[in-house]
Subunit: 321 residues, 2 copies
């Protein structure tokens, strides 16, 4: 499989679109950016054995490579538009590549994202996706925009992906292990919710490093603190059944990475709007705490303050798991 | 060195700019794209041992990672604006990182490119830069726009980087080996020339895979052929002195990768404009042939047709050197 065969194989999956003036096949893509929007750009790399287990199916690697980037767009309130894909493969493997592209394009088509460029190289498996979205600059969800008294809310459930990664520890327990693993392998970026929050919520971040670590990013950027109710943290039935020890469960929900849920802060009035839309759209959203003028992050349970879990997040240089 | 220290170290080098509404430190950057321009996007990955020798200085790796992307902007006629950097490092090494950033930012500042986002991960050394530029869509230099009778020209000199890579083969000869190696390690993207060519030249490509391979991309996209004069291929004094065998030299000039010069086609009238500006700017530009309606690529020397060199380019899946 030569580099140009590989590019042709990828290019064959790309559909023409009016905002893509020039797609894959030239030195660069040419894209039309509407004049009333800011361009929103983010990049994420996935490395085998660091960001996904080495036994992850090719489909899931392709899905996740795009999903983690779409999650960044969601956290900004942006509409994702265009992606580039830099794919480093150890050896030519059509079956793996086709599986990877199946996963990547399944999500790309679901979210109407066009692949507009890329690079293919030979080396240890690594995928870097750069995503481009659009958002009105004044409505973008920034980390530094939380205010005292804001409600803190999250989408979906927490801790599933972290339990899916460590499922061997919990294999004696019940619960839907396949579901937990799917939350690790094929996370759902909350793109529509993010766009609804733009201009309504104040601050937002996606939960990739773990709830507390990512909340801390918002608090540090905003110069504020927070109080979080442990019993309010949303958990899936699969998590409750697989991880019966409440301490372990809280640990996974607070510090487990790879949730790719949204954490956002907003006024009570905006929260009511979000709840009404969430009901219409069947989005799960949950209040977990409040922003406070007292800096620092405090966990509460049964009216008592709890110690913070040991590891405050997922740091790719501090934790090579 | 944690991931967040690393990001802080990179972020400290980024200067504020009015077109960067939000830079490094949030889930994504926010950028202002002027309404009269198309957004031009390209991505390139460099892998140690594939795209640069493992003994390459950190400074050169940083420079080259940006240079190869700027070269793509030049080949489109675009003004480079914003870059993202996905950096995968095997282990924390401040000295290496600082050297890398010195090289990256030396070129970024020279070309007024802002670093607006990135990702740092642990793994085998690999660098993926995504570059964003601006060009009026109608003036962009596309590969498919060559016309019969167009002059074919190149910037700079050819074959230096390929000789620099294989300098051991030529070490008995004279020539400035350090110069040849610097052409491999720290190529000069022809950004100003590319912008001048926008709206003047017809087709353009940057020479990364080798002259003939990249010319073939233009010819295939345009459905045309070309006749090239071997003796017209521009060579540096260092190349002529280091590689005394004319056959070897032609091989390097035709098929050696990593030149990062521009190859462009244009009318005689446009060529005269380019020559006048080149004299003012001290750009080296050379006519090497003509676009023909006869498909295929023909080399000529002393009025006789020559066989094409064996390897028609640098294919990262076909050639792991």
């Amino acid at each position: 499989m030569g580099e140009f065969d590989l590019i042709a194989r990828i290019r064959a999956r790309c559909l023409p679109r009016p905002d893509v003036l020039l797609g894959i096949g030239d030195d660069a893509a040419l894209l039309h950016v509407p004049s009333n929007c800011a361009l929103c750009v983010s990049v994420d790399t996935l490395i085998a054995g660091v960001h996904f287990p080495r036994d992850t199916a090719a489909y899931s690697v392709g899905w996740k490579a795009l999903a983690v980037n779409l999650s960044d767009m969601a956290a900004m309130g942006a509409k994702p538009m265009w992606a580039t894909l830099a794919l480093t493969l150890p050896e030519p493997d059509y079956a793996w590549l086709d599986g990877f592209l199946d996963g990547f394009f399944a999500l790309a088509q679901a979210e109407a994202v066009a692949l507009v460029g890329g690079d293919t190289t030979r080396g240890p498996l690594s995928i870097t996706v750069t995503i481009h979205g659009l958002v009105a600059a004044a409505k973008a969800l920034r980390r530094d925009a939380a205010r005292v008294g804001d409600v803190i809310a999250v989408s979906g459930t927490l801790g599933d992906a972290a339990a899916g990664l460590r499922i061997d520890q919990f294999s004696a327990s019940g619960g839907d292990h396949a579901y937990l693993r799917s939350r690790l392998d094929c996370p759902t970026p909350r793109v529509a919710l993010g766009q609804f929050l733009a201009g309504r919520a104040r601050a937002a971040v996606d939960i990739s490093d773990g709830l507390l670590a990512d909340l801390q990013h918002v608090l540090s950027a905003s110069g504020l603190g927070a109080d979080i109710e442990v019993d309010a943290l949303p958990s899936s039935e699969a998590l409750r059944e697989a991880v019966v020890n409440p301490h372990d469960r809280t640990q996974l929900q607070c510090s487990g990475g790879d949730d790719y849920e949204l954490l956002f802060t907003l006024s009570i009035e905006a929260w009511q709007e979000v709840c009404a839309e969430a009901e219409r759209q069947a989005w799960q959203v949950t209040v977990i705490g409040r922003v406070s003028a007292d800096t620092g992050l405090r966990l509460w349970q049964d009216g008592k303050q709890k110690a913070l879990p040991d590891t405050a997040g997922w740091n790719h240089f501090g934790d090579s798991s």
